[in-house]
């Protein structure tokens, strides 16, 4: 059973992803509504993959950073998580279209950036399966 940390402030849509991941078998999902909860969870236990939204409230973790009203919160979170977990695959899943932000996310090693508009739960599971192939 792979353990996934799903970070997304949108409660219902992320619940669909979470449920779908769990139903597909093979995944146990921990959900965090923002960077604070995410970092706390990441400190406490090990994960096999992270799925992060980009646009989120910065929380106390990034309140002093230039997140542009939360538009770039994911950029800071992914960098911080990468420090803690240098190897674990990270998928950034968002509807953000700002090229600059997407480029910044992609520049972090081992990160793939997917559009929520394209990657509905089933497709995401396929992608995740591929990434976590033993």
């Amino acid at each position: 059973m792979k353990r996934i940390l799903l970070v997304d402030d949108e409660k219902l849509p992320s619940a669909y992803y979470r449920k779908a991941l769990e139903m597909s078998g093979g995944y146990q999902v921990v959900w965090a509504a923002g960077p604070d909860a995410a970092l706390q969870a990441a400190e406490q236990r090990a994960f096999d993959a992270f799925i992060l939204d980009i646009m989120m409230p910065p929380g106390s973790a990034f309140k002093d950073e230039d997140t542009r009203d939360g538009l770039r919160t994911g950029v800071f979170l992914v960098k911080r998580l990468r420090e803690i977990y240098p190897e674990v695959p990270i998928i950034m899943l968002s509807i953000v279209k700002n090229d600059e932000i997407l480029r910044e996310c992609k520049s972090v090693p081992g990160v793939s950036v997917l559009s929520k508009l394209e990657f509905h739960p089933v497709k995401l599971i396929e992608e995740l399966n591929a990434r976590l192939k033993p």
């Binding site: 219902l12 449920k19 779908a20 139903m23 279209k97 090229d99 508009l117 394209e118 509905h120």
Partner: protein, 902 residues
């Protein structure tokens, strides 16, 4: 109330004062405020105040006020302060105390383009404790034009009103934010809200204690028809307002003369008639040659009228209290050019010798050898040069300068420019020999006296000069505005296109070194760089987009001056940017800049600022060479810039509206996307639930695959939302292309066809009617897969919506390689399109008349989005054939082929 007339309509000099007063009286007015100075009145034969009063009495008119000439001149002319109501003033003057001591009343008139132009400026003076005797003379049009409410002026100073100027103004293209203010019109034809004005006047009348007789003075700067027509028109308008109790004007002016007054006989001519005719001919010719040449030609025309060593033309820029040398003509050697502008304001440390001509509009002669006058010459090098080199003769007469004011056509009380003539000494002597005084004792006063008939004649001639100068300026304004009006927004014009075009037009029209446009960013409340010419100008080093360089007050005006639409501010010693308007005015020596605010027509706010630097230019050698002589921007340039801005305003407003709409569209798109993602997630989850439950699938449970329907509808909805989003992004010039290796057939066309499956069902069209030919000629391409799907989806969705019926519905797609391109041919056997719409259908918002007729839904975005996507990939799309079938030809560059392809 009593209603009088301002005689400015009759010019700086009446010529026939009796005729003018006849007209005023015949129209029904009861008094006159004279604009003509005592000196000018004398030239018309009014030697003293008694003669003037006599002329008025004959016509049952009262002397209300005197507005022309210096205060001292007017007091001396009147003698007795009880003979009139007030003396008109526009600004503070040390003489005021003396005026009050002598018992005269002063009436302050805020005036456009003068230091005191707003009610606020006037209040500062009126409210000073030492100025409590100062009366107020508000002007309805002048106040309305600077955005003040004349009603407030009347209300606030009801008890201190000397009179009220009733004046109206109507917008005239491009010409009001500078001193050539034209557009003053007969009452009732302009912007002044007269009902409110008269209502307030009525109220104030009741509160006036000591002086119930409030004078209303009707004023009109110039007439476009005849003076009588204009006077009568104003009178007619007044007589139609019951509250004015104004009589119906006579149909023709009658003569009130009792024969007591005799107009003076014209003096003998000094300048021969044929010379004058030649002079006029030269001016007319010059007026077609552009402003650079024009001023040189004017100088030359004067030069040939009177043999001179040097002739100069100085343009006045009143808001700067500055004179710019814009043209000159010289005999012999090239002249020194260390001077090109002079500060002429009352406080200027180096006020030029001829500043008094600027103040009084009186032609004058100056003896340059007279040390008391010579020491007041600003341009010392020129002075020394003249003394040394020129055709100077000994004796007290020395070199002489004749200074001739040329006034403004539309208001003869405003100076347009000054002509300085340095006549040849030999010519002066031959002229003087004809005159008794000069020949007899050769003294300076005698010289001046002997020159006065010549000066009068030159003054009269100058009246012929200003209309020509106006027509030159008109031409420049029209040409400049025309440039702007030729701007045609191209398909999906990005917001950068017009600003670029605009600054280019500014730069060209003003012959400037560089021009830049800064636009107001409302949310951040600052001005941001928008476009400049040249693109890599000095400013770009300091001013990148987003850099703030002007602070704005809470009304979003960078300074009071901007709020008024005033434009001239010059740069300080450096071009660095923390310029505030105050600093700009203080160092006129260096780089000359012109700044102009752009006002929104719809919001009455500054929406941008243009900034322009003058070309550093050397003087060309004298002669018939076209050149723009001044290194400073003159008022003429300001007028041209104004014309450009006026022409550009509607387009800027349009741009702003579009940008707001596009920004809103962006927000709407985002609002749509969030639930879309959620619906898909839920549907997905439902499918998974079925899979893990007893029914295995939704179809098994429902009998139909409704969950898949939800999916498909969300995809269609998603495509429509994407259309809006792609449209927004391409408008903003940042449509991002995210490429990945893509096979057209399996990864673009097939998914798009799948996505329209529900639409086909809805329109009852057969899915098998969509066919494809071989795409084997097209290898894997590096394109944005999702966007390419959008292209095919949009084309298919159009074909489906416009399909005639199920029998005729057919679409085929094929791929080939042709020339340097991969070609997708999309053939649609539907109704086709009229040849005249071949290009138009790619324009955002365009919908064919057929679409309206047949009630086909849509916003006209689909094909414009298709073109944006294809062009963003470096390709093209066009209609190859209009019908049977209609064919779209999409060409994609071969460079999109993956490197790994053979």
């Amino acid at each position: 109330m009593k209603i009088g007339f301002q005689s400015i309509l009759y010019g700086r000099r009446f010529g026939d004062i009796e005729r003018a007063l006849d007209e005023i009286a015949s129209a029904g007015f009861r008094g006159v405020e004279f604009a003509q100075s005592p000196a000018m009145l004398r030239r018309d034969g009014v030697a003293n105040i008694q003669i003037l009063l006599g002329l008025l009495r004959e016509r049952n008119l009262e002397l209300v006020g005197l507005a022309g000439g210096t205060l001292r001149e007017r007091m001396d002319f009147c003698g007795d302060p009880t003979l009139l109501r007030y003396l008109y003033v526009e600004d503070e003057d040390p003489v005021w105390d003396e005026v009050w001591k002598r018992g005269f009343k002063l009436a302050l008139h805020p005036h456009l383009f003068m230091r005191i132009h707003r009610l606020e400026d006037a209040s500062k003076l009126l409210d000073k404790p030492e100025n409590q005797k100062l009366l107020f003379l508000p002007d309805t049009a002048h106040l309305a034009l600077v955005g003040d409410d004349p009603v407030k002026a009347i209300r606030d100073y009801g008890k201190r009103l000397a009179a009220i100027h009733l004046k109206d103004w109507a917008p005239e293209f491009g010409r009001y934010s500078h001193r050539y203010a034209r557009g003053f019109v007969e009452l009732g034809k302009g912007i002044v809200k007269w009902d409110a004005v008269f209502e307030e006047i009525g109220k104030r009348m009741k509160t006036r204690v000591d002086d119930k007789d409030l004078w209303l003075i009707v004023e009109l700067d110039s007439s476009r028809t005849s003076t009588w027509t204009s006077v009568r028109e104003c009178a007619q308008w007044l007589s139609n307002r019951p509250e004015c109790r104004f009589p119906t004007p006579m149909s023709e002016p009658r003569s009130f003369s009792t024969g007591v007054f005799h107009a003076p006989a014209p003096p003998p001519r000094v300048i021969p008639m044929e010379k004058e005719l030649e002079f006029r001919r030269r001016l007319t010719d010059a007026s077609t040659k552009g402003s650079g040449t024009f001023y040189h030609e004017v100088a030359r025309a004067y030069h040939e009228l009177i043999p001179c060593d040097l002739t100069q033309i100085w343009i006045l820029t009143p808001s700067e209290e500055r004179l710019d040398l814009v043209g000159y003509y010289a005999d012999g050697a090239q002249q020194p050019v260390t001077w090109n502008h002079l500060d002429c304001g009352p406080g200027a440390a180096q006020r030029p010798l001829f500043a008094s001509v600027v103040d009084t509009l009186e032609p004058q002669a100056f003896n340059l050898a007279d040390t008391s006058e010579g020491s007041r010459i600003l341009d010392k090098p020129l002075f020394d040069h003249l003394i040394k080199t020129f055709d100077a003769v000994g004796g007290p007469s020395g070199p002489v300068m004749l200074s001739i004011p040329v006034s403004n056509t539309w208001n003869s009380h405003h100076l347009r420019f000054v002509v300085n003539l340095f006549p040849k000494a030999s010519w002066l002597h031959s002229l003087a020999a004809l005159e008794n005084g000069f020949a007899a004792n050769n003294s300076v006063p005698a010289l001046k006296a002997s020159l006065s008939p010549l000066l009068d004649e030159l003054d009269n001639l100058s009246m012929a000069v200003s209309p020509e100068a106006d027509s030159v300026l008109d031409e420049r304004c029209l040409a400049a505005a025309g440039r702007i009006q030729r701007f045609i927004p191209s398909r999906g014009a990005s917001r950068d296109a017009f600003p670029k075009f605009f600054v280019q037009a500014v730069s060209k029209s003003l012959n400037s070194e560089a021009a830049a446009l800064f636009r107001v960013h409302s949310r951040l409340n600052r001005l941001e760089w928008s476009a400049s010419v040249p693109e890599r100008s000095v400013w770009n080093e300091h001013l990148t987009a987003g850099e703030q360089f002007y602070e704005m007050d809470e009304n979003r005006n960078t300074s009071k001056a901007w709020a008024l639409g005033e434009m001239r501010f010059r740069a300080t010693e450096q071009r660095r940017i923390e310029w505030k308007s105050r600093e700009m005015t203080s160092h006129p020596e260096r780089d000359d800049c012109i700044f102009a605010p752009i006002f929104s027509l719809r919001r009455r706010e500054v929406i941008g600022v243009v900034r322009c630097t003058n070309k550093e230019m050397e003087f060309n050698p004298p002669g018939p060479v076209a050149t723009d002589a001044s290194r400073m921007f003159t008022d003429d340039d300001a007028a041209v810039l104004d014309a450009i801005i006026q022409a550009g305003r509607p387009i800027f407003d349009q741009l702003e509206i579009q940008e707001e709409q596009i920004a809103t569209l962006g927000k709407i798109v985002h609002e749509f996307q969030f639930p879309l993602v959620a619906i898909r997630g839920a549907a997905d989850l439902m499918n998974l639930s079925f899979k893990h439950g007893p029914h295995k699938s939704a179809k098994d449970f429902f009998g139909e695959d409704y969950v898949d329907d939800i999916f498909q509808w969300t995809e269609i909805l998603g495509r429509h939302v994407d259309n809006a989003d792609i449209f927004r992004q391409s408008y903003q010039g940042n449509l991002p292309i995210r490429t990945s290796p893509t096979l057209l057939m399996s990864q673009v066309i097939a998914p798009a066809v799948r996505q329209v499956a529900l639409l086909l069902r809805e329109y009852e069209l057969p899915a098998q009617a969509i066919g494809y030919d071989s795409f084997s000629y097209i290898p894997t391409l590096d394109v944005d897969r999702n966007q390419m799907q959008q292209v095919i989806f949009n084309l298919l969705s159009n074909s489906i919506k416009y399909a005639i019926d199920r029998r005729h519905f057919r679409v085929t797609m094929s791929g080939s390689r042709m020339g340097g391109s991969f070609v997708i041919r999309y053939a649609d056997y539907g109704p086709g399109i009229d040849a005249k719409y071949k290009e138009l259908i790619f324009k955002p918002g365009f919908r064919s008349p057929d679409a309206h007729e047949r009630n086909v839904s849509g916003q006209g975005l689909g094909l414009s989005v298709v073109r944006s996507i294809i062009e963003a990939h470096g390709g093209t799309i066009e209609i190859g054939k209009e019908r049977d079938p209609m064919v779209f030809i999409i060409r994609l560059p071969q460079s999109l082929a993956m490197k790994s392809n053979p």
